[in-house]
């Protein structure tokens, strides 16, 4: 298929997943801050996690709750805001309407227009939980509609690859939010208060119930990180996301598993297999934050590999070719 089309289906999925996860970020923080008094409220970590501090500082004075939510939700000048992501998703969907199903297009369109309307009304901050729940649900709907109405051929796999890579990236970031949120005092570590915070992290990854079913233990930082990073079965864990992404990649190329023919397969294969031989103690040994930062950079590297291998095939440079007789 055309590189441009593959790339647009890929990015359509990434943007929708990104919008969903920005909603999750904000949700985790709303959760975390609920039990904190105003003096201790911290919203800047969210901006830091998204890596957009400079852009934020250029437009806003205070990292207040309202400003951060505005920046991450409907600031059109922030390319990673929910509004921008959904707009880009819609643009991508629009230019591949002949490839995707009309139900997918309708869903993308409806989600974008809903956010646009909410922004116009200006009442997102009145009831943020509802709004973010809607953004998350719209993303789930899109995924479900895509799975049920689009042939699971090459384009679909490029889409799923995009969605799962984005999810791996964002689950890592959600987990990392906790790192940035400084605790009020050292004594709180391991306190019921700390437990509550870790529970909020789980909840934001829609992982609390599944965690309980799988672990049946009290919530500890070690187990939460273990679950979100290494669970084989939970579909939002980094490991599971990478494994599914790799499956799609190999379905696209036909390369047998545990082998590679291009940069994307090599990089993703290496990263995924690292997770197969990893225990949570190894993660804590290097430091959770340091580990997550490295994973994020590896995921970016996989993304570059996908771009090089599929989206930007290059012509043979004219200089290396024999001159055609005139």
């Amino acid at each position: 298929m055309l590189s441009r089309v593959a790339s647009q289906v890929h990015w359509l999925n990434r943007y929708i997943e990104r919008a969903e996860n920005v909603a999750r970020f904000i949700d985790v923080n709303l959760n975390l801050m609920l039990e904190m008094d105003a003096a201790h409220q911290q919203w800047m970590p969210l901006v830091a996690t998204a890596g957009d501090e400079a852009a934020f500082a250029a437009r806003y004075k205070e990292p207040s709750k309202a400003n951060v939510i505005r920046f991450l939700t409907f600031d059109a000048s922030n390319p990673n805001s929910i509004l921008s992501c959904l707009r880009m998703a819609r643009e991508n969907a629009r230019s591949v309407r002949e490839i995707i199903s009309s139900e997918m297009w309708t869903q993308v369109n409806v989600s974008y227009l809903a956010v646009e309307e909410a922004v116009a009304k200006g009442n997102v901050l009145d009831d943020p939980r509802d709004f973010f729940a809607r953004v998350k649900m719209d993303s789930h709907l899109f995924g479900g509609i895509m799975d049920a109405t689009m042939s699971h051929g090459e384009a679909w796999h490029f889409g799923r690859l995009g969605r799962l890579l984005e999810r791996a990236d964002k689950t890592a970031r959600i987990l990392d939010v906790k790192y940035y949120v400084l605790l009020p005092s050292l004594e709180d570590v391991g306190s019921p208060f700390d437990d509550l915070q870790w529970q909020a992290v789980l909840k934001s990854a829609s992982a609390l119930e599944m965690y309980r079913k799988e672990r049946r233990r009290r919530i500890t930082p070690r187990d939460v990180a273990d679950f979100l990073i290494l669970s084989r079965d939970f579909p939002r864990s980094i490991r599971s996301s990478l494994a599914t992404a790799e499956e799609s990649l190999h379905r696209i190329t036909g390369t047998p598993g545990h082998a590679f023919r291009n940069a994307a397969e090599k990089r993703l294969g290496r990263l995924r297999s690292e997770f197969d031989y990893l225990e949570i103690e190894d993660v804590f040994a290097v430091g959770l934050h340091e580990f997550l930062q490295r994973v994020l950079s590896e995921i970016r590297y996989v993304g570059d590999g996908i771009h090089e291998s599929f989206f930007a095939p290059r012509a043979i440079p004219a200089a290396t070719r024999r001159e055609a007789p005139q």
């Binding site: 590189s3 819609r90 002949e98 989206f311 012509a315």
Partner: protein
């Protein structure tokens, strides 16, 4: 469909009352269109070939060379089978005398055929019973005929055919996408294609893949920044080189604009006589060419009665409907004509026929034209029907969608008793 800034599409209104064309009249029209396309194609081939008609003094050489659609660098080029005009849309109007006249020849990248197909689909859904009884000639085969026409342009086995679009912000993008989908071929943008050595290739997820035939819906000007407009971002650098080497076919071939020029149009009946030795089946609308001093004087003296059109515009832009214009508008237009006489032609204000059209809760007469589509591959095929455009504003003679026009389904009824 016209995209605006927020990315919303405007609607091309559809009128539910079909426009009826009887079989006997249609066979006459089809014969006339086939004849006209043969002559126009011969003309384009001649202009870029021997130039017989120019040497014979039948069409003025200066007029041809000064046409905006004339591409000097294509002189001497011969596309496959000497066919240049693969897809044409000929605008017909019925005058007060009841006869159908040719108003315009659209042989660059005519659009609108998707509406013909979509309007038919709507009618079948809305009026199935009427449809069953009426013996309406089908149009749904158009994408197959188009693909066949395009495939015939390559000698390679199983050639790769693509539709080239300027992209989703183009007003006809819906049609480009629609046709690609119906033909089951790739819809590409300029950036999807690259000239690699002597071939045109498209960028796919499995690397570069050769393209043999391009149904391009981009104007000549923007097709190749190396050959034509340097600032074009829509085209493919080096495409015309490959075309000239015969390694890629373009439909329509570049350079056909020379026969789409409204100042060349008055000569089409003469072309038919010259190349085919036949009498034109479909008459032209009498036309004055402002390039000619005598005719220009006549135009300027009668601006209040005439319709004046820019020779190289389409979509109803750059025209003056004399009887409906204010004296100031006529004066301003007279100045433009005198500044650039080559670019203007004038025609009598036609008493365009009207057909019943649903307006509010009732039916009223509205002016219409008809654009049938003609395909020229190994042979010439005329699609039975075409796009009937209707001026929805009462009394308006301008049917273009950009100027408040709508469309109707066109029913060519089969032979009586069939």
């Amino acid at each position: 469909m016209y995209g605006d800034k927020a990315g919303r599409e405007k609607i091309f209104p559809f009128d539910i009352v079909p426009r009826i064309v009887r079989w006997q009249e249609w066979t006459h029209v089809a014969r006339g269109l086939e004849q006209r396309i043969r002559a126009l194609n011969a003309f384009v081939a001649d202009v870029y070939g021997e130039g017989r008609i120019l040497k014979a003094g039948i069409v003025p050489e200066d007029l041809v060379r000064s046409s905006r659609g004339f591409r000097p660098r294509l002189v001497g080029v011969r596309p496959p089978r000497d066919v240049w005009c693969h897809v044409s849309g000929i605008d017909l109007v019925r005058h007060g005398d009841g006869a159908l006249y040719v108003l315009e020849d659209n042989i660059r990248t005519p659009s609108g055929v998707s509406y013909v197909l979509e309007n038919r689909e709507i009618m079948k859904k809305v009026l199935p019973e009427l449809f069953e009884r009426a013996n309406v000639q089908p149009v749904a085969n158009y994408p197959n005929l188009l693909l066949e026409t395009l495939t015939q342009l390559s000698d390679r086995r199983d050639p790769t055919v693509v539709v080239l679009t300027p992209g989703m912000y183009n007003s006809a993008y819906f049609e480009h996408s629609y046709l690609a989908q119906k033909m089951g071929i790739e819809l590409v943008e300029g950036s999807d294609l690259v000239v690699d050595g002597d071939e045109v290739k498209m960028r796919t997820t499995r690397g570069l893949r050769r393209v043999d035939v391009i149904y391009r819906r981009i104007d000549d000007d923007f097709l190749d920044p190396k050959a034509f407009r340097e600032d074009s971002l829509l085209g493919v650098a080096g495409l015309i080189d490959v075309f000239e080497k015969g390694n890629v076919a373009l439909a329509n071939a570049p350079g056909t604009g020379v026969a789409d020029d409204k100042a060349v149009y008055p000569y089409v009946p003469k072309m038919i006589r010259f190349y085919l030795g036949e009498t034109p089946v479909l008459p032209n609308v009498p036309t004055l060419v402002c390039w000619d001093d005598k005719e220009r004087a006549e135009v300027l003296a009668n601006l209040d009665k005439l319709v004046v059109k820019a020779a190289n515009e389409s979509g109803g832009y750059g025209m003056l409907v004399g009887p409906h214009a204010t004296p100031d508008e006529r004066e301003a237009f007279a100045k433009r004509i005198e500044e650039n006489p080559r670019n203007y032609i004038a025609q009598p204000t036609l008493a365009l026929s009207r057909v019943p059209t649903r307006v509010g809760g009732t039916f009223e007469g509205r002016h219409v034209d008809l654009r049938p589509y003609v395909l020229h591959g190994r042979e010439i095929k005329v699609v039975p029907g075409g796009l009937t455009r209707v001026a929805l504003r009462k009394g308006s003679l301008v049917v273009n969608s950009s100027q408040g026009g709508g469309s109707k389904d066109t029913w060519v009824l089969g032979p009586e008793g069939a």
